[in-house]
Symmetry: D2
Subunit: 322 residues, 4 copies
């Protein structure tokens, strides 16, 4: 498997009550060394400005080369500064919309320089909070326009749109797999696709396997972020700590339809050791994949084809527990 992690997962964790953080600030290179020391990890994702900018691109490039680590994506910073408080690509202020595009292009340049091929776009502030606050006609048009512009800037770089139903806005414009696929299709750009963050999909009431199928069928599943939650909120927990069989179905469809991208860990280990939390996620995925392989894709395909619930339940138990 191509496992990667998001660098910031190893850093400090905050919430609105404890804004100084549950942990301490840590230097990027220390986080980097921890990340690549996790068994199985061969790639890394960086958040713009936080982890990567013009000023540290060279030193980051050195870290990547020396450790033989692939730069899996850059996630431009469209969610953590006041500038974007009321939207980035959908800000009512045209200067801010231009800044959102400009920052993305800057990140594309750095990405290419560092050998990366995918921008993971999560414009978390692009949404609305109050009823009657959403200017849907303008906002969706601006969003599509901005994505087109960054997609056209370097057609060899893939732009992968990460959806999430809410947080930091009460309603996000890219909320679930289907509405985000619609946006990707509307751009009319081949290099625009969609990222599934498993936790975001669960919050949106989606069945993971079905969301993956929808995007794979359209050739638009560009990237995967993994984490777990109790379903009502983006708890960003260790993979496998809450859900079990849902992942089996997801992995089944990923394999069946030949997903060849990265499996990236994206957690928020508020009170846990970051490295260990990420390592546990990969260990869970490995263990579940081993169970799936031992059972056999073809055998499971046959069970799925028949669709008999009692047989499925029996076979999933055999697959999982022996």
């Amino acid at each position: 498997m191509n496992y990667s992690v998001i660098l910031g997962n190893l850093g400090n964790t905050r919430d609105r009550f404890l804004s100084s953080g549950y942990k301490d600030e840590r230097p990027a290179d220390e986080m980097f060394r921890q990340a690549v020391s996790i068994p199985g990890v061969s790639g890394i994702e960086l958040v713009g400005v936080w982890d990567i900018s013009a000023s540290n691109a060279k030193s980051m490039g050195k870290l990547l080369r020396e450790s033989g680590t692939k730069l899996v994506s850059i996630i431009p910073e469209h969610f953590s500064s006041k500038l974007w408080a009321r939207g980035a690509f959908t800000s009512r202020d045209p200067a801010i919309r231009r800044a959102a595009v400009a920052h993305t292009k800057e990140m594309i340049d750095i990405l290419v320089e560092l050998g990366g091929e995918l921008i993971n776009l999560w414009p978390g502030q692009d949404g609305y909070d109050y009823l009657l606050q959403g200017n849907f006609d303008e906002a969706y048009a601006w969003l599509v326009e901005g994505i087109r512009e960054v997609a056209d800037y370097r057609p060899d770089v893939r732009i992968s749109l990460e959806f999430k139903p809410k947080e930091p806005r009460n309603f996000s414009y890219m909320a679930r797999s289907a509405d985000t696929l619609l946006i990707a299709l509307e751009t009319g750009r081949r290099n625009v696709g969609v990222t599934i963050d498993t936790g975001h999909a669960l919050v949106g009431g989606e069945n993971l396997g079905e969301a993956a199928f929808r995007l794979l069928k359209s050739g638009k599943l560009f990237h995967l972020h993994f984490n777990d939650n109790h379903q009502g909120w983006d708890d960003d927990m260790i993979v496998g700590s809450v859900h079990t069989l849902q992942y089996i179905e997801l992995f089944f469809w990923l394999r069946k339809l030949g997903y060849s991208g990265w499996w990236s860990m994206d957690q928020y280990p508020y009170r846990e050791d970051g490295r260990e939390a990420l390592a546990q996620s990969i260990a869970w995925i490995d263990a579940l994949l081993a169970k799936l392989d031992a059972y056999g894709m073809d055998a499971l395909d046959k069970v799925m084809r028949r669709g008999e619930a009692t047989e499925i339940t029996r076979e999933l138990r055999r697959l999982l527990l022996g």
Copy 2:
């Protein structure tokens, strides 16, 4: 306003515990007369087999003509007989898939004969219950294929797909506005669109105004079903009994983008007088529309454009409470 009701709303109501029903069975013509006696109602929707079939098409036509009532839609019966227990358009049995198409064509014939122009397609059994039970690759293909076939049967008849996240299946293939729009677009047929049932959209975590915008922008909002609920389940309650401002936003976008279809009441008044429950819904919609008109579409548009939450909240209070 073009208000209509679904005839069956006036009949007996059942649930899985009280399957004989909370009320008594009633003759269709009595239900019909009650329906058209509701102030404001000028159209009716009929459920296939339950309310309308080849055998009673003539007598129904007479009722429609004599009362000057428009046949707003026929809803083919794809959810209430054992035949469809494991799917209609997506049944693993090709004979059942053919039957789903054939029944729809039969309903189209009757619809046209009775002067109707829209089929409201709610294949409620098309979905799955258990993890690994969904054969997504086959099921979605069969669904699109079946819809194409009924759409091509009479291109002058509009086929409007009604989505719902769950019930009677734990997961429906047409679950929310965006995934159903994707299906409609995939058919490639101009006469295929989408119905918003307000309650279904709320269960799916959608903001009503945004769901309507998405479909109107694409020219695909063909029909509207109205009811209310407490958000977690399709309670099918009286419009306005739970939500208030959400409807204002919905009405705003319907008016702004020129929705010209029917506003149809679709409730399930388990323990209430059916006629009165439907009448109350229309009275609520009328009252909220009157408030919106009194405030003014242009004035509200300006408030929405600015997007300032405190101003919006103040103005919505003025709009609603004076």
Copy 3:
């Protein structure tokens, strides 16, 4: 383990759309024979009127004796006839409230005659649908009064209150473990306790292990109903078909605090073979308990005591997957 099943789980299944049922009606003695043929099943629960009444008590007694089956509970019928449509113990009509008590007493008499010791009380119609419809002051007083009366009728018979957040009412008066424990305590009767239906607890947003702890600590966990769901609704699925680790935590606390009652299967296998669906649930519970035992209660207790999330996640993976 003391496994039991609810007899009706083997019968026809209905919903509001397919009220004649997904299956056929079947004679009670056939259902009974199927039930007791499920490996591990040594007890049965009967629903009043549906399965048991004065008229068939003798023949049911014969079935119980001949098969060596324990009558685990009778569930009085307070949810499936028009009489209770607007409440049983909380009906605004005093005659109906008296009828709810009288029917329960009648079931108590039959229970004792057949060697049972527990009444599982699920007054599903005791709740409300609309805002401002609940007469909380009267309703809660009537509910407590009615429960006291049936508890005092035979103090040697245990009355176990089954909670559920909603369905068939939009809000139930006994909704979650804590509010129902409050009601049990308010009755002041030692023979009044609470039933956890695992699916109902999940719908209510409860963590199963914590709900069990709350009731066990108070000596009030009288009974357990098992089923699974996707969390938003009482899907009444096969145990283990959706959740996995949640059951491990539940079983841990049941064992740790010495729950000695029955483990009863309560499903609604709409489209599945009833016997097989129940058998699969027991097989899942058996398999998960075997994993728990193999790992060791003491070892898991130590992990829980330390409360380190990454350790817990690692150890639960070891417990489950080896």
Copy 4:
């Protein structure tokens, strides 16, 4: 009405993505002056350490006296420093548990000195995140023990427990009205009661009027925090911006059962002007109360008593819209 606000609502707002805040830091006295300038506000709540400590008690006392403002409560700081990251009253570390009690006592002393009578206790870190992480037996015992100790420190000071289903922990030990009432009752102390935060109750799936009834009937509704949300999460929005009729039912029961405490605004206006957001909440409550009064408590009581859904819906429309 006795309206109050929480001082911090006027300050900076943060989330886990934008930890430096959507606004700027502001001096406490400026926030204070803004708070008391909101029409209708005559009381204030202070968060321990943030707003009030031994070092500024005198200057705060001066602000209170000079402005004629009542100190409605102090909310001890049990949620926003690393010390409490894994629990305050339920920390596995006895020194931290003692610190939680000690800090509360210190706040009680200051409260009394400044003429206050109520401590609003929200130990937000007392809960757990992962399955099998909760040491329920110890945690609940420690929680009750700690509350008893602070309640006994000054029996003339009321300790009001604020519940919330989740955040900052995935599961809180005090999650909903009923479980928190159980804890309050278990302390056996007359001066321990419960705070309803309307948003927390909505997230927990509670009907506001019923939660208030439950606590009022037991004499345990000590305090009220007001805000609104879209139901799935504690969005902390302006009152009346999402829900409407739910407040009418709440106000009905508050008036009917004679709630005489404070109506305190507790919002988190991420992107809004704090003063204006609080002012809008009070304006909404005033407007809805005026509608309720104009309709008449007795008239609404009669409608509620009859419990006819169609009548209720009609009368609530009349009440609201005229």
